[in-house]
């Protein structure tokens, strides 16, 4: 199986390990990821909050490149990229006028707008059985808090792959990996992603609440599928500790790392050693 790949900026920098583990697990699952040639940043939050047309054009350029490469489906592991690209794709499909305008700007027609999927959808697609089949050592009985963050399952109309209030798709995947998902309250609460640098105080507060709920419900680990969430929840734990004395560390893993571990890949192969809060797996 071949599928287009849009790593996005984070996966080439702050979230290298995410990129590494996505590629590794895909390889084991027999999926060939074809990176979009010369892709550009989707503009993340900064573009759409200042200029709608800028945001739309940045995404559209990527969609154009992908369609020229003949890619019908694109994997965007970053939830923010996924959200931007799919919202833009939707707008281009629904508003022919906007599409025309953007095409004029880009100087080319987008012949076929590819479908954007996220990592959860990819793993769902490959199928549970296959995963178990490939499974090496499991993350047996690890109590896991699956964190979706805000953009993976919203808005509800667009990302119909899961319920936007009570999503369960990640839970299903980690269950197959042998872990025990917990029921908790903050799985779709926002961590403040975009404000990480300019309003660190907000991000620290929000991330603290999220991690505290996970801890109270006895989670051993938090799983996420978004590099921004990961940065806030992993790297910011130091700041959280500074502000909230009682905070206890909790490791935060990418979904791909977790799946990789249960396939028997090593921490190094998956880049887990790059995290700020170390993860000592009970079973690996």
């Amino acid at each position: 199986m071949k599928i287009g790949y849009y790593p996005g900026c984070s996966l080439t920098g702050t979230a290298k390990e995410y990129d590494k583990s996505v590629r590794k697990t895909a390889e084991v699952l027999g999926i060939e990821l074809i990176e979009i040639d010369d892709w550009n940043c989707c503009g993340a939050t900064s573009a759409h909050i200042t200029s709608h047309r800028l945001a739309l054009s940045l995404s559209a350029r990527n969609l154009l490149l992908a369609s020229k490469q003949g890619l019908k489906e694109i994997l965007a592991p970053c939830a923010a990229c996924y959200s931007r690209l799919s919202l833009s794709a939707e707008e281009l499909i629904k508003k022919p006028d906007a599409k025309k305008e953007i095409e004029e700007l880009l100087g080319e027609e987008i012949l076929e707008i590819p479908k954007i999927i996220n990592l959860v959808q990819l793993y769902q697609r490959v199928g549970a059985e296959k995963m178990i089949e490939k499974k090496g050592t499991g993350n047996a009985k690890l109590k896991t808090a699956c964190y979706y963050g805000c953009l993976l399952v919203r808005p509800s109309g667009l990302n119909s792959f899961d319920d936007s209030e009570e999503p369960q798709s990640m839970e299903k995947i980690v269950t197959i990996c042998g872990a025990e998902p917990i029921d908790w309250n903050y799985k779709t609460e926002c961590c403040g992603a975009a404000h990480s640098i300019a309003r660190k105080d907000i991000v620290v507060d929000l991330s603290h609440k999220i991690l505290t709920d996970a801890k109270t419900r006895k989670a051993d680990i938090v799983i996420t599928a978004c590099p921004m969430c990961h940065t806030n929840l992993d790297m910011r734990q130091k700041d959280i500790k500074k502000k909230f004395d009682k905070h206890e560390k909790i490791p935060v893993l990418y979904l791909s790392e977790f799946v990789g571990l249960s396939m028997g890949l090593t921490k190094e192969e998956l880049g887990i050693d790059l995290h700020f809060v170390p993860f000592e797996s009970k079973t690996v």
């Binding site: 920098g13 909050i49 800028l54 805000c150 953009l151 919203r154 404000h195 300019a198 700020f276």
Partner: protein
């Protein structure tokens, strides 16, 4: 005038909002805002544009879509906030959350130059702009050591195309 522009840009009619407050109730950033998000819509309904555009709320909104997902009237408040920010920039309104805007500008400048985010450039530019030299001094070296921040930017090939896009679409801040 402004209402019309908003309606045009967002395909949304602010009059459908019946001020139930569900958006504000679920907003993760609510506690840091001067005005509740539903109040921003109310200002627009009443034609109090100044109040809406000058509020720090529109800048603090993190675009998390919680409000849009839960609104009983299917009002896409997140998108509405986008439109208000864009108008505020065009109108040259003084932004209360200066650092947030500076961050976004710095971020976009990297993309304009390189086509992709360039962390070191971003940090450098943001710090120069804000004068806030101390923030994140502790994590930056660690990031660097882990190889998460590169020294060199990731340049895309078609950098001219990128510049083009920005020139044609970027909102010029007054």
């Amino acid at each position: 005038m402004i209402t019309e522009e908003i309606i045009r840009n967002t395909s949304q009619n602010p009059n459908i909002c019946y001020q139930c407050g569900k958006c504000s109730a679920g907003c993760p950033i609510r506690n840091y805002m001067d005005d509740s998000p539903n109040k921003i819509i109310r200002y627009i309904q009443l034609g109090l544009y100044e109040k809406a555009l000058n509020s720090d709320t529109i800048w603090l909104c993190a675009g998390c879509l919680t409000c849009s997902t839960r609104c009983p009237k299917e009002f896409d408040l997140a998108k509405f906030m986008d439109a208000l920010r864009e108008i505020a920039l065009k109108e040259g309104i003084k932004v209360k959350e200066k650092n947030l805007l500076k961050f976004h500008k710095a971020f976009l400048n990297q993309i304009k130059k390189h086509g992709r985010a360039y962390e070191l450039g971003l940090v450098r530019e943001y710090k120069l702009a804000t004068g806030d030299m101390m923030s994140d001094v502790d994590v930056a070296p660690a990031m660097f050591m882990k190889g998460k921040i590169g020294i060199l930017p990731h340049n895309i090939k078609d950098r001219k195309g990128m510049k083009d896009i920005f020139e044609k679409t970027e909102v010029k801040i007054k």
